[in-house]
Subunit: 195 residues, 2 copies
């Protein structure tokens, strides 16, 4: 088969990301296969290299897509619990990761040799922005200098706890309530920002 035009370039991108994402969710990064992803999309291996330049860039795009799903999940959870928004964020962070462990892990297990696309970076920045806004609002002084850096430090804090849950480290250490721990640490740090 030679040239087709079943899909535009953008449709093809979306198609490969969608099927790639499904495969990633099923198999995880370690067992992910470009050939299989292409086959499911109805194309052959080479097409990945035409469209994304490399398999790694397809995986990066899949991961960026996961970020979008995740951001949407957080937004929905914030909407459903307008009282304690920090709690909603922390719980939303965890339950997305636990609902989609393979997708979530792939984000952090994948190491890209070259840099992320502009598009990928923007897609990923959305989640960070959501958290930055909420943390700022929860701060004793929302205009505190370095509020955004502080917010990202809190993300890292929650991330560490979540990472231990998904990797099984906490299970090994018989930790009964990792989410509660993460939330407690976040609250302590926010409280410490007064004065």
């Amino acid at each position: 088969m030679g040239r087709r035009s079943d899909h535009t370039r953008d449709e093809l991108r979306a198609l490969l990301i969608a099927h790639g994402s499904a495969l990633m969710a099923e198999q995880g990064l370690a067992k992910f296969s470009g050939r299989e992803a292409a086959k499911r999309a109805g194309y052959s291996v080479g097409t990945i290299y035409n469209v994304f330049g490399s398999l790694d860039q397809l995986i990066a795009a899949i991961n960026s897509h996961t970020f979008s799903l995740w951001a949407e999940h957080l937004r929905a959870r914030l909407e459903g619990a307008p009282d304690d928004r920090i709690k909603a964020l922390v719980e939303g962070y965890f339950d997305f990761a636990l609902a989609h462990p393979n997708l979530w892990s792939a984000i952090y297990d994948h190491r890209l040799a070259d840099e992320l696309t502009e598009h990928d970076q923007e897609q990923r920045a959305v989640l960070t922005a959501i958290v930055e806004n909420e943390v700022r609002a929860a701060l004793p002084d929302p205009d505190m200098p370095g509020a955004d850096r502080f917010a990202r430090s809190l993300i890292a804090t929650v991330h560490g706890h979540c990472s231990y849950v998904v990797s099984g480290t906490f299970e090994l250490l018989d930790e009964p309530d990792p989410v509660g721990n993460a939330l407690a640490r976040v609250r302590e740090c926010i409280a410490a920002q007064r004065g």
Copy 2:
């Protein structure tokens, strides 16, 4: 070549771990090759399966070995700075990871299908125990209930920050001082344990 006896079982284990660890440090988990590791140790692929049962178990053993190096690094750093021991721990956590990013990442990027060996678990628990002791000592009340769980929560906190550094996430977000952030969070949480 048939049966040899150049090495005892334990020597062979150590040999494969040593060469595997060197390869892991050079190439990282994604490009790690069992064949290559075996070749460097002077044996053939099959030997890995004889000794460890599976390639994944060899990788688990390599990672446990990394934990030992890491614990030793922390001990040395604690010895060199007996005044601010929490700072020594946090900095020690980071600079081991940054000195050996491939070894460090392999620990968290590798997902074992079956469970860890007793031996592997013990080897890994050493690092946790060191931190638990130090955190306990730094606590307003060292006999606080749940001190160990709290210590592990702090480890998760530092881990999250470190993970973001090694994966490049923080670099992307222009964070100038991730270690400082981690240390600040840890201090805030410890201080919050009084009362």
